[in-house]
């Protein structure tokens, strides 16, 4: 026999509504927090990395001072080798038309430095490696906010173009690729047959998110 409370309790649960739009906004907010966490970890990791490089170089330098004659050129060779280690990880960076750019996916890049190209960006972007699903994250700092980019493989290999008008979503084309702008977030999602690109803004205008999205350079193949 059913107890008196069973149906009312289930009915209570089913009647609590949480609009999908609010769920999406919260989801974006969660991933912004996650990016910030990743960025913080990366900052600490980089500090350790650079500190250890500096320490090694210093030890080598002092060691050579004792062991080698001053005219020996080995010292300068070693330090220059060491400093090349400090530079950006080469596999994530490409020079596109002479501009240092991050390799977002095998089909696209974006310039590291968008200061002056996109209004509001205060310094060069930072980037770091993710996992096999999200190979790279890029982060552009603004005075009071930021824009982040990440990608995931398009597993279905299809481009889903929205047929009907949906509140808060606008269809657009960025570099001849289908994209959707989530006006509330703001966020742009660009779809290609191989990848999905997420360009999300935190405390910035949708125009700035669009401007950053337009800076992604795609190879010719769609």
């Amino acid at each position: 026999m059913k107890e008196w409370y069973e149906e009312p309790l289930k009915s209570l649960d089913s009647q609590i509504l949480w609009p999908e739009s609010r769920q999406k906004i919260l989801k974006q907010s969660i991933f912004r927090d996650i990016y910030k966490t990743q960025n913080g970890r990366r900052g600490r990791g980089l500090l350790m990395y650079y500190s250890s490089i500096v320490a090694v170089v210093a030890i080598l330098f002092i060691g050579f001072q004792f062991l080698q004659k001053p005219e020996d050129s080995t010292v300068s060779n070693h330090t220059s080798n060491a400093s090349s280690v400090v530079s950006e990880p080469l596999e994530m960076v490409r020079y596109v038309n002479g501009v240092s750019s991050v390799l977002l996916t095998p089909e696209s890049t974006i310039p590291i430095d968008l200061k002056g190209t996109v209004s509001g960006i205060i310094e060069k972007g930072s980037y770091w490696q993710g996992d096999k699903y999200t190979p790279v994250y890029v982060y552009y700092p603004f005075k009071d906010g930021n824009i982040q980019i990440h990608t995931t493989p398009n597993e279905k290999g299809e481009i889903n173009i929205i047929e009907t008008e949906i509140v808060g979503r606008e269809k657009m084309w960025i570099s001849n690729r289908y994209a959707e702008l989530m006006t509330d977030a703001p966020q742009i999602i660009i779809q290609t047959k191989r990848y999905v690109y997420y360009i999300s803004g935190d405390n910035v205008g949708k125009e700035q998110v669009i401007d950053v999205a337009k800076q992604i350079k795609f190879n010719n193949n769609k």
């Binding site: 409370y5 309790l9 009647q15 996992d131």
Partner: protein, 171 residues
């Protein structure tokens, strides 16, 4: 890892939000705690060894955050009640006002129960977790889950009757 968290969010955020809302009965704060649940899941992902289901693990995080929040909120609520000389009704926002009248009454009756009673009723009778899963989420023994639920149901009925909400149809 991000992808996994995203999958979990798509699957479990709604039940977790509803669990938190039923616990704290504050819509905006429930969204904030749902957000904290998933950010904390991300930060502690390496502790998740698959001994429980992801859903149970996420609910245990949500439970801990909710209990922490209720502990912090309690002194403020008391002060408010003393100065306003009445209980804060925590009106529901427009988004959830579609509740039927008897559901609202049950919602407010749940509010008057002590946290442990409310929580065990929500997990066992609404979310339909097993005794074992409920024990994992609450970090209790299984016998404590059974005993607390045994006391919680009459307390809910009493509260419901006290408010004059229990009608013949339900009995």
């Amino acid at each position: 890892m991000n992808r996994k968290i995203e999958e979990w969010y798509d699957e479990y955020s709604y039940p977790i939000f509803k669990f938190i809302l039923l616990m704290i009965q504050d819509y905006q704060q429930s969204e904030d705690l749902t957000q904290e649940t998933f950010v904390k899941a991300y930060k502690n992902y390496h502790f998740f060894k698959g001994n429980s289901s992801p859903k149970t693990w996420l609910f245990s995080i949500a439970h801990n955050l909710t209990i922490d929040y209720l502990r912090k909120r309690r002194p403020m609520t008391l002060i408010k009640e003393i100065f306003l000389l009445k209980r804060d009704s925590n009106k529901l926002p427009d988004e959830v006002i579609v509740m039927k009248e008897n559901s609202k009454e049950l919602y407010y009756a749940l509010k008057c129960l002590k946290d442990s009673y409310r929580e065990v009723i929500i997990l066992r009778k609404i979310k339909e977790f097993s005794i074992e899963e409920t024990a994992y989420i609450l970090n209790w023994t299984e016998s404590k889950v059974k005993a607390t639920l045994h006391r919680a149901i009459p307390a809910l009925e009493k509260q419901f009757k006290k408010e004059g909400f229990l009608n013949e149809r339900m009995v």
